[in-house]
Amino acid sequence: MVTAQSKETEQYNVIGTRPIRHDGVDKVTGAAQYGADLNLPGMLAGRVLRSPHAHARIVSIDTSKAEALEGVQAVITNADFPRAGDEEIDTGEGTANLKWVLDNVIASDKVLYKGHAVAAVAAADHHIAEDALELIEVEYELLTPVLDVRDAMVDGSPLLHDGLHTAAMDGSQSDNPSNTASHLQFTKGDLDSGFAEADVVLEREFETSMAHQGYIEPHNGTAFYRADGTLDIWTSTQGAFVVRDSVAPLLQLSPSQVKVTPMEIGGGFGGKIPVYLEPVAALLSQKTGRPVKLTMNREEVLLATGPTSGTYMRVRMGAKRDGTITAADVHLAFEAGAYPGSPVGAGAMCALAPYDIPNQRIDGYDVVVNKPKTAAYRAPGAPQSEFATESVLNELAEELGLDPLEMRLQNACVEGAQRADGFTYGVIGNVECLEAAQESPHWQSELQGPNRGRGIAQGFWFNIGFESSAYAQVNGDGTVPLVLGSTDIGGTRASIAMQLAETLGISAEEVHPHVVDTNSVGYTQVTGGSRTTFAGGWAAYECAMDIRRQMEERAAQIWECDAADVTYGDDAIIRGPQDEDGNDQQFTFKELAGQLVTSGGHIVGRADVNKTSSGPAFATHIVDVEVDPDTGKVDILRYTAVQDAGTAIHPAYVEGQMQGGVAQGVGMALNEEYYYDESGDLKNASLLDYRMPTALDLPMIETNIVEVPNPGHPYGVRGVGEVPIIPPAPAVRAAIANAIGVHMNELPMSPRAILDATLPSGD
């Protein structure tokens, strides 16, 4: 295999430049078709009836009045689905129990969270469908809701699932049923002796709220079940193949009967991996024989899709006076929502990942509660666990009178270091990020003014590999359509096309990337896990290498020489041996492209890759805040994000990922929360009261891309998208402490929480 990894970025022609994204014009003119923009002849509109209760048994559902309403074509409940068995299906980055997937899509015997789908209607238009929902009569037997992760873990707590037992990693199960679905543990060294060595030991407890991905586009799904038994689905999803492989078993169809077309997607951040509406639309279409479009409104998105876990966490950390961390004990209890499957595993693996700590124990608990089933959200599990550990590390530095950045450098993992879970690092940019932060104008500057403070934090996240597929055809004019299976959620058409262009030696503009349906490209995993530019780019690279090889062969045919004597250069010149007259023979890419049709036909390159996860990413963030001590409000004054991107393919979109991650992390730090009342009613299910940052809440976000190429990728790419959401919360916490001397132990660190921590009791 030819690898280009040894190249310096400046040697690249396309990589590292900032071309206009290929789908850009459509997206600034309103032409781009997102899922909800689809309009098919004869299409019906669907709406979903949702539970007003957090925990209840469904006694009966009477849909007769709704069915009788003029314009209503079908009403369905869970009972209308084929019975889902106790089997595991592929849900993208893991597997899930099919019955739980179906029960989350539409409740069977119990509703487990407010907003849990109970029934669905297809009608002539959405106004009628909404009217029909009001006519569906559901009788509930109310049960006590379980809303707090610690309450849920207590023996005797009301149970969400009678048959759920705590699974240990060794496969054993608890004797008694429990809301704790699983327990995992990683250890390293000897914790007791590690703490005995420490001069200072700190222990802190943290609570964090559920938080939502907050993509601006609500979920949608359109289905058309045809008379021949084939099912078409159009949806805004991060993984078209995941939708296919979830819907097919739920409707007891073969994957070959299901074609999923990924529409443009208005953000996902992990939340648009699971299916919600697609199976319902499919069944409604099956019942009516007409296309059915379902869309969620914002309240439904917040109530009933998958936020990230709320948590209770406890961290004990010990260090010597010189700053050497000797031991860390981390306890993580994560809310999974209504069904098992919180990201506590990844949270546990990330918790201490940047640091080489000889003695560690990390315990993780996956706990069901009467809240929506959590889904992946940008570096799932890590913003929580690293908030806890980074916060304690910052406090240790403060306690020891050490520079928190220096202390991180002192304990930083480098190549060869091993985490408690057993991973051993290859080439990583942990230290490089810290050093770049140390040298940054921001860190070097002096912060002045009352109630102002500065904080720093580090972040770690993986880089998931897995399957990606691509093919590309060489047109006669030298342009190359590139066909991809990866939904483009933030510019990956461009970043993948650029890697194809680089490999072929042509311009990014000569490559025309297209995202297609599941029948039109090979299996491709979700756009998520920081994998798309990494794995999709790898597929594009191999696809281009396939084209290079075929073009060498074609040139050999034309020149009537041995293909081994033809070389395709990185300058896109195809060179052959001298002809009989001793003249050099060569083609430019375009010249040879022009001769393909007459010399044997077009060339199609293809690649299917299945890669390991090998390019973990680190980030260092610095933030300055000002706190209004009278109101508890925190303003972000200045922010610098440093991150190792391996190689920044399209630096503008790398910066964009960093800035977007910071914005989400700041939101999680300051205001975003799932605010439940004691009955389990989510009281802030709107974008008014679920307070994501506005343009007025953030400054410009300075970015500093460090490039420590990933030796496991032809262009050195590392995952970029996820790690920048991790450091903001602990960095902001440290800055608040630096400003007003108060350490916050909860997320969000809202004005209310800060006032609660600072007002004299009795005020």
Binding site: V28, A36, N39, D125, G266, L687
Partner: protein, 159 residues
Amino acid sequence: MASEHIVVNCTINGEQQVFLANERDSLLEALRDRIGLTGAKEGCNNGNCGACCVNMDGRIVNSCLVMAAECEGSEIRTVEGLAEGDQLSPLQNAFLEQAALQCGICTPGFLVAAEALLEQNPDPSEHEIRYWLAGNLCRCTGYDKIIKAVQQAAGQSVV
């Protein structure tokens, strides 16, 4: 419960339009479902995200908070009306050059809102841009590049 249809006359992107709407339709629903202009997006349907911003009689409005029936006689401009044929507006070009969009769902609303800002205030400060656009939520970009795109379209130097 049955609802009736109404006829609405208005100007959309410079063209006279007569369309039939459900009397319950918002302007957003009329644009998307009746006229086929799907550039304006539904993000929240209650005025809190700005994805449905259109220009109505010279002011930006959340089209989800306007009844279609109210548009009788109005002049509406949507994202589809920003470019002249295949000539993008300076703002549209700036959004592309500054990489001011990732998923792109909020982009139509930002473009319509920012266009109105620059018409009224051709040389806005960063704070004025942020204030004007505070009703438009973006979850991908952290706003940095959006602000820079507006600055570029205003002819300001962008770092």
